[in-house]
Symmetry: C2
Subunit: 363 residues, 2 copies
């Protein structure tokens, strides 16, 4: 693995910038930091993310991690100020910023050739340097988006950066990236929001019927609104186009529910539901492996410290590796339900092992 | 706690019927079983769910757990055949079946007074008696829907049934129930489906950017299509009405994305996103308590048996109770991320306790 060129300057000591700096610093890379907020800069430095930028520093690689609305101008400024440096950014929507950078950097030495975009698919409900951590990108996709002008060393630098912080670089052009995130991230966010919005008018006893499915569908609707307002605006064309497809399907469903005709209900609902079911099977599985149906095992457990520990110990004794685990919420009872996902074929083994150890376990 | 009248006859030995019978039998209640399928009946009996119905048996309480399309007729037949028995059913949509029963049971002794509907909010991706278990209803809501004609002893019987199998009875009328499940269950199902359907045309490298949010939003779209086709059709009016509200919001979002006008984007997206965020806060929390924001702690862990066990043991030693736990999927790395939710204020305590024990933990 090649290391990205150092010293690396990280501009913007928020959650993402400080986390990048911490991850690089943890691997011994020399990191310089800059932020318009002295407090953010001081906090990032105090965490060991790097040292504050001095006027005579000559960074070889600049990572721009400022809010999307400023990112384009800061990238161009960096290209201009350090004519030898390579530059990248971490904004969530790439086409708009790339166009601005290419347009504005004609007068800059070697122009936009030294820039390649990036987008780490990681975040948190929290923000600021206090929420940063060196492991934020571990195992996460990091989209790398070269422009037509990007020189090979600029592309390599972003790929090496992603690898060094533990991410999985995925190279694609900006327009493909923006379409992809519209489908896998921005539209799901809108759908979660529109689903959750329906709850505002529901009486309490209606909401009492809520189950785990509703919680799953709506969870991300609780995220940072200001950021999402900006992301949806920046990726307006792609989001709108995917939402138009949603609306076409939605209109068909509403239309057929109006008819009450059984044959039409079968045809339209069957087709739409099947299309959704097929879609869920296309989502890559854990560790990037092909999607697979895991075996689910349900285990009843008392709601007290130590119970999960005992369960995990017994699962370990059975030699079964847990692929996924969720604790299900529960209504009005001091008891919970753990859903353990294991490799196909191992569910029955685990049920038997747990049952023989006194657990109420079933598939 | 009063016990429901016995013997209880369960008609329909699928997942729900057999689970009800197992839960009742586990509490010593005499259970009779019936099914048009001899194989299903035999399997339920062999599991200890009860004994097959004989022609001279006189059940005092009948639980109809056959597919929705047959349930109304089977309820009326049971009211007719056992003029002393109370009767309930477990179908997911209540108005349609209730209307049919009231209409068809005029000629039946004491009419529909002996019927009250029910709907346990529990299920599984699996079906049939082999997937049944006595704990299926533990802590789950069980909607109880009396008609205008329902006599008190019929209502009591369904409430007592719900309590005996460990569920939380919630009494509401059929139309309120159907509206409630449209909002908290049926429309979320459609939204998950429409989101997942967008993935079918996406190239593999686009899907590689998928994260935990997409998995959450689309998970339930993988459920049994035939059942959902029937549920959506049976609850067509309420589902359509809630979907029409979704479409109105969706049209506003698509419209404002078309304008590209920043002030309008701020106004409309801000309002819609805020409405969704408020909605997520209305979902009842664990054990039916008021919704609360839990502290989240993230812990990095190696992907091997025993790792979670060690983590749980250390969490227990710290005296911190886990409210919710999820293992996050991960791409291309032999490492996972556990997200532990704990009571507000305990996050920092847990981070310190785990860090001091050598874990990489952060908030």
């Amino acid at each position: 693995m090649t290391l990205p060129p150092a010293p690396v300057l990280v501009i913007g000591c928020g959650l993402i910038g400080t986390s990048v700096a911490l991850a690089l610093a943890a691997h011994g890379t020399e990191v310089l930091l800059d932020d318009t907020s002295d407090a953010h800069l001081a906090e990032a430095v105090s965490q060991g993310a790097g040292v504050g930028l001095s006027s005579d520093d000559e960074p070889r690689f600049v990572v721009v991690a400022v809010p999307p609305v400023h990112a384009g101008a800061v990238v161009v400024e960096a290209l201009h100020r350090w004519p030898q440096a390579l530059v990248t950014d971490v904004t969530s929507v790439k086409s708009r910023i790339q166009d601005a950078i290419v347009e504005q950097s004609h007068a800059v030495p070697t122009g936009a050739g030294r820039y390649a975009g990036g987008h780490p698919m990681a975040g948190s409900e929290l923000s600021g340097p206090g929420a940063a951590n060196a492991q934020l990108f571990e195992g996460r996709p990091w989209a790398v988006t070269p422009t037509a002008a990007t020189r090979p060393e600029a592309l390599d630098a972003v790929v090496d950066l992603a690898l060094q912080v533990g991410a999985v670089p995925i190279i694609m052009n900006a327009s493909a990236h923006d379409r992809a995130v519209a489908v896998v991230s921005h539209v799901p966010q809108v759908m979660a929001t529109l689903t959750a919005a329906r709850l505002n008018d529901a009486p309490d006893n209606h909401l009492a019927l809520s189950g785990a499915g509703l919680r799953d569908v709506t969870r991300i609707a609780g995220s940072d609104m200001a950021l999402w307002r900006q992301i949806l605006g920046d990726n307006a064309a792609d989001v709108r186009s995917v939402l138009a497809e949603v609306r076409a399907d939605l209109d068909r469903v509403i239309g057929v529910l109006e008819t009450g005709d059984d044959a039409q209900l079968d045809a339209v609902l069957g087709e739409v539901l099947e299309s959704g079911r097929r879609g869920t099977q296309l989502i890559p599985g854990k560790h990037g492996s092909a999607p697979s149906r895991l075996d689910s095992v349900f285990v009843q457990l008392a709601d007290r410290p130590g119970e999960l520990s005992r369960l995990m110990a017994h699962t370990g004794e059975a030699g079964v590796n847990i692929e996924d685990l969720r604790l299900d919420h529960d209504l009005g009872r001091p008891v919970g339900l753990a859903e353990i996902s294991v490799a196909p074929g191992l569910g029955e083994t685990l049920v038997e092992a747990l049952t023989s150890r006194g657990w109420t376990a079933y598939r």
